[in-house]
Symmetry: C2
Subunit: 212 residues, 2 copies
Amino acid sequence: MARKVVAKGRARFHRETPEDRRRQLGEAALRCIVKHGNAGVSVRQIAAEAGVTQGLITHHFGEINELVAYAFDIMSEGLLQSLLKAVADAEPTPQKRLDAFINVSFSPMLFDRGVLGVWVVFWGLVLHSPRMSASQQGEYSNYVGAIEGLLGDLAADEGFGIADIRLSAIAFTALLDGLWLAWCLNPASFKPEEGMQLCRNWVEGLRRGAYA
Amino acid sequence: MARKVVAKGRARFHRETPEDRRRQLGEAALRCIVKHGNAGVSVRQIAAEAGVTQGLITHHFGEINELVAYAFDIMSEGLLQSLLKAVADAEPTPQKRLDAFINVSFSPMLFDRGVLGVWVVFWGLVLHSPRMSASQQGEYSNYVGAIEGLLGDLAADEGFGIADIRLSAIAFTALLDGLWLAWCLNPASFKPEEGMQLCRNWVEGLRRGAYA
DNA sequence: ATACTTGTTATACGATCTTATAATTTCACT
DNA sequence: AGTGAAATTATAAGATCGTATAACAAGTAT
């Protein structure tokens, strides 16, 4: 007699652990944001992108802001890992490691309009949400800390002085972010290789004692 | 017999020239964006902020995107004018003029979370709207052009070389924008005076031939 | 097999959004 | 004063949004 009453047409589905589902939803959110920017931040769109119903987002995250914050954390972590991996894979001299950092920063994986688009949405939220701001501060300090290490090693290795490594790392970060922003908003303004050269020039200024 | 049939309570109003009204609406839009970020971009909120009804926006701008683009133009123009005025008011030596540019860039008028908030919203739109992208490109090239002039004058005056002035101006712009972004997202990360110092350090690197 | 936990679907409600359209008032001009 | 153009209000229609709630089903343990 037929099979176990496949109710009036309710959709089949299979369960996932909360951890897996949360990540799927976070990644779907990122895809939506890449595609539509701020307009992509919507329970319905994200649920559709993930192939589930809206209630699931409420169930796993309570409110949508939590999902977005979670997506932000995923993305931050992923990018930082990519950067650190490139550094780790480089020859272990301070110069090569810093070069590797610069090169991967301008590689298509990171120097990308879609990636910036996600970031821009996050920035907008950080300015108005304490929850997002907290995530951003943690992420930023990890990022600056990594650069601090690279610059400090280079200075020690080559024997030049830096008055304030933390501030120098902040400047280098700002330069990278600013170039990334400018290029993504208008890819015709300069070429990625030119951006890399400008970063190397910045380091050359450091080397020549402009920050001592 | 009474007066001219003051209809059943329709609101009084007074007309303005399209030009004035457009500007009022544009400025109301900016205030809304400052207050609520992307969430502030809404016909209803902007109309309320301006003290008019929604239909007026449709009437003057057709669709809301046009209003936002117009607000973007107002804002760009205003900021650039502030910068150029500070330069014009400075003593007419290349060094003083560049210093003035740096100083005003980090003054509370420009180095401000509200201002960045507006910009972030615009960036988000630029990435997804050709109309906004066109405005941004024009604005960006004006900005970089101004810096190009300042840097070129300094190099000529002091007799040091710059391989590519345009690229150097792009880097300096990126540094300014990056510092602005970082500080607004997290004002605890560094002090505006430190940001100014980092800009001067960058110029010192230029002076020492790091970009030659 | 049966029951239980909970991940998941389904659905509804109220708010807000954009855009379109019609009615009305203001103001400049004759 | 009266007329006409258009700036402005008023209102409605249809989408979409976020969240709450209840029913259902999948998988685990008993």
